[in-house]
């Protein structure tokens, strides 16, 4: 199941979410939006806004479903952990 994480390098919840998925051996692609530059960064912010309606992190996309924040219950549910 494709999992994508939009994260910030400075955000504790992003770290907690990634750690949780690592512990459960979930493989995922991660984009650290604050490490991007120029057009790449603007595009990533646009995508985060489109997906989540805001600019809060993490934004986790599981098979097209969007989770905003480190919502363990939803992550568990969508990844059937």
């Amino acid at each position: 199941m494709p999992v994508k994480v939009f994260a910030l390098s400075t955000c504790p919840y992003c770290r907690m979410a990634r750690q949780y998925m690592d512990e459960n051996a979930v493989s995922y692609d991660v984009v650290e939006v604050d490490k991007l530059d120029g057009q790449e960064r603007a595009d990533a912010i646009d995508e985060v806004k489109k997906l989540s309606g805001g600019t809060s992190f993490p934004v986790i996309v599981v098979d097209g479903e969007v989770i905003v924040g480190f919502n363990k219950v939803r992550i568990k549910e969508l990844l059937s952990l």
Binding site: S9, T10, C11, P12, M16, R41, G69
Partner: protein, 224 residues
């Protein structure tokens, strides 16, 4: 990390904190601001340490203490809303969650802040928003409070608190700058009189909205 580091492409802002600012200094700086808003630092000290570390990284990158869980877009109008503490911009949302977005701050009436971490669902329906500490207002005093787009006047009369829409129905003057006489506030511009207990006035169809008020543990809450 330098200001040209991770957030290149967006101009740095004027630095408000000297190089080498510590987490303890940020904490000392923020504590009085959030107390006025009815909040305190989370009781989970390890989590507070993590967030403040994130803020110090953001400070090094950008020149100011933006929320470490949200991103600067480069639009000053959007970005000002995520400078920590961002509580004034999100008062009813945070009051409903009983914490700020990331949980660095919790409402002063919450005992255990660790239970709220990671919770981002906003409860539906009316929300009690802390607006003042009861002891900070004198009898006969009025104070203006903004909650989202709502402009509200809070009054203290004889130890009791009341809240009305701050906007006079006549010419839109701020009632919080009016003159108090017992339970009456007189508009500062043309003298229209309102009863602070229910927002009624003797002008037809011109009552202002009245909001429920509660006082608990010395904190005044307005329900919006």
């Amino acid at each position: 990390m330098s200001a040209e580091g991770a957030q290149a492409g967006i101009p740095p802002v004027r630095r408000r904190f000297r190089e080498g600012t510590t987490a303890a200094e940020l904490k000392a700086y923020m504590t009085p601001f959030v107390a006025v808003l009815g909040y305190k630092f989370n009781t989970d000290e390890e989590f507070v340490r993590l967030v403040l570390e994130g803020e110090l990284e953001v400070l090094a990158q950008t020149g100011d203490i933006y929320c470490p869980c949200r991103i600067r877009t480069g639009d000053p109008k959007e970005d000002v809303r995520i400078v920590c503490p961002c509580i004034p911009f999100h008062r009813s949302q945070f009051a409903g969650m009983r914490k700020c977005w990331c949980g660095l701050f919790i409402r002063a009436d919450v005992d255990d802040g660790s239970e709220l971490l990671g919770v981002i669902e906003e409860p539906e329906g009316p929300v009690e928003v802390p607006v003042a500490r009861a002891g900070d207002m004198r009898d006969g005093e009025a104070r203006r409070v903004t909650i989202g787009k709502r402009d509200i006047a809070v009054f203290r009369v004889d130890g009791e608190f009341f809240a009305l829409s701050n906007v006079c129905r006549h010419a839109f003057a701020p009632l919080s700058e009016g003159f108090m006489d017992g339970y009456t506030v007189m508009c500062p511009w043309h003298g229209w009189r309102y009863d602070v207990r229910d927002g009624t006035t003797d002008h037809p169809d011109s009552d202002v909205k009245s909001y429920p008020v509660a006082v608990r543990d010395g904190e005044v809450f307005v329900t919006v």
